[in-house]
Subunit: 336 residues, 2 copies
């Protein structure tokens, strides 16, 4: 592999001139510029990024900590990240952490060991050690999707509370007054906020919160199925099930249909995220649309701003949601 010295010799100039030809072409006279470019061509020269990065101290790598890539929503978020990263000359180092804190810390440490410039964390966990926390200094990190409130860190989020309230109001407006909520992972702030929104909406119309109607889930199809199965065993069944993501809603629908219930006549079902499959489920799913790709795009762009010193405050960017009403929710039908 040829290096800058070979090119310099070939062009009959110094290595500095070769470097300048590539980095600041305007500072090199047209005729030497041509000579150098010809030599580069001839030598098949590709500048060694490692060397350049070592000298400049910038890796142009961004670590992405994602709990599970196999999650359709996250896959879309990453897709958006990739787009902006590519445009701005950055590369994404992907880490599928399975929500394992040790793995997250391991990858975050790549920043300290100069293997990456910054981190995008899609989960509510701070992978940086306390010791390194400098009160007035931002970590080179951006938090997206799931809010990490303990640490001052630029964040891209949805108003989950408002979104959950909007969906709950939609169900209430259809006449439902026993609405079950299938939660996400217990510790997630996302879950907490959505529960809050759900309660807000119930309070508005004076319906008492019933603990029984809150069921644990983990965002998987299976947990949605099981949650629905559990709800059907209750003495006082709900008439609507609001799931904190679409996968669980689809799992729940599968269970309900298997038990012979019609959707939405016998039970309304709602989801959250508006994944591709939501539109194609049977019946098509009522859900909250989140701008997944936009989450990714904004997060990367924000992180680059932080790295380049253009952002110095832990700003929060709130992205809009949309209530998408399809056919899985409908008016309450009185049981005969």
């Amino acid at each position: 592999m040829s290096n800058i010295r070979v090119v310099a010799e070939l062009a009959g100039v110094s290595v500095a001139t070769v470097s300048r030809t590539l980095k600041q072409p305007e500072s090199v006279s047209p005729k030497t510029r041509h000579r150098v470019l010809d030599a580069i061509q001839q030598a098949g020269y590709q500048p060694n990024q490692l060397a350049a990065r070592l000298r400049s101290g910038k890796t142009h790598n961004l670590v992405v900590l994602v709990p599970t890539i196999a999650n359709v929503f996250f896959a879309r978020v990453i897709s958006g990240m990739q787009q902006v990263a590519h445009e701005k000359g950055f590369t994404l180092l992907l880490s599928n952490t399975q929500a394992d804190e040790q793995t997250e810390c391991h990858y975050a440490r790549m920043v300290e060991s100069a293997a990456a410039d910054g981190v995008i964390q899609l989960r509510a966990f701070n992978p940086f050690k306390r010791e390194h926390v400098n009160e007035h200094q931002l970590h080179p990190m951006v938090n997206a999707c799931e809010v990490l409130d303990e640490v001052a860190c630029p964040t891209v989020m949805l108003d989950n509370r408002a979104a959950a309230a909007a969906m709950t109001r939609h169900l209430l407006a259809l006449g439902h007054n026993r609405i079950a909520l299938v939660k996400g992972p217990a510790r997630s702030p996302l879950t907490r906020d959505r529960i809050a929104g759900y309660r807000d909406a119930l309070n508005e119309v004076g319906i008492n919160f019933d603990e029984q109607l809150l069921v644990a889930g983990d965002f998987s199809l299976k947990s949605g199925y099981e949650a629905a199965a559990h709800l059907l065993t209750l003495a006082e069944r709900p008439t609507a099930i609001f799931c904190e993501n679409d996968e669980m809603a689809m799992g729940a629908m599968q269970c309900l249909k298997k038990m012979g219930l019609r959707i939405p006549e016998d039970m309304s079902v709602a989801g959250f995220d508006d994944i591709n499959f939501a539109e194609y489920s049977d019946p098509p799913l009522t859900t909250i649309a989140q701008p997944a790709e936009e989450f990714g795009r904004t997060a990367v762009s924000l992180l680059i701003d932080v790295l380049q010193g253009r952002v110095t405050k832990a700003a929060k960017v709130i992205l809009p949601f949309e209530l998408v009403i399809r056919n899985s929710t409908g008016p309450l039908h009185k049981q005969p």
Copy 2:
């Protein structure tokens, strides 16, 4: 950020000894080892990877070229890759190429510019320039999922032809003799192989191939929907639809149900991949299960072997598939 010199001074040894303490601890006497480790601790020293990589010429980065991360199947493949990469101390540089050749070449060039050691390509396209092809030298590349036959390159694949034949035989055995096939992207070898398998099975029982029953698709839910809609307009309708992936099968089912057809009584539908949603669709989808995570694991492991010179031939690893029969396929019911 403290460097190796600071640590060396702190421990009262040379930089070489510090380096050795970390890389080959056995070559350092126990007492200096302790002294050095203490100094490292005290200085909060993290070796600079950029420097180490520049010197050693290895980046421990692998570029992954994936057409669309948002594809559920690929997401699982990447998940498997990540697992092995992490275990072996490698990092994945993710590139969502949207099947754009220019983007693919751009990322592949990272190998030449020392930003990555190798490439895993999930699509049938060679991102390396011809000029660099050395007849007897392997590219630092592994091809997975979609076979790239023009270039000698280690490959991880499924016997798509056999799998498609197996599914077609299953449908034939149920009494279907007009079986439609919804294809993937036209240029894909994967599509070509699956068509070949489909024809193999038809030939075995002496059914003539009908061009009309071959419909174009692009692996999206929408294209499955449209393909089904088209098939329903045919004068001689098929009684079964075999889609080259599960998303299209789910799109097709949505269309059929909307048109009032029952599945499988009026029309059997089969997919390919066995994504999570397949089990939870209505009805649960008959499909070909592919070991997606295993694709990823094998690909990474193979690439590392190539990089370390343990593999010098363009070996093909063929992974097993499994015919998963659920309820979307059933015996032919004669129309009244």
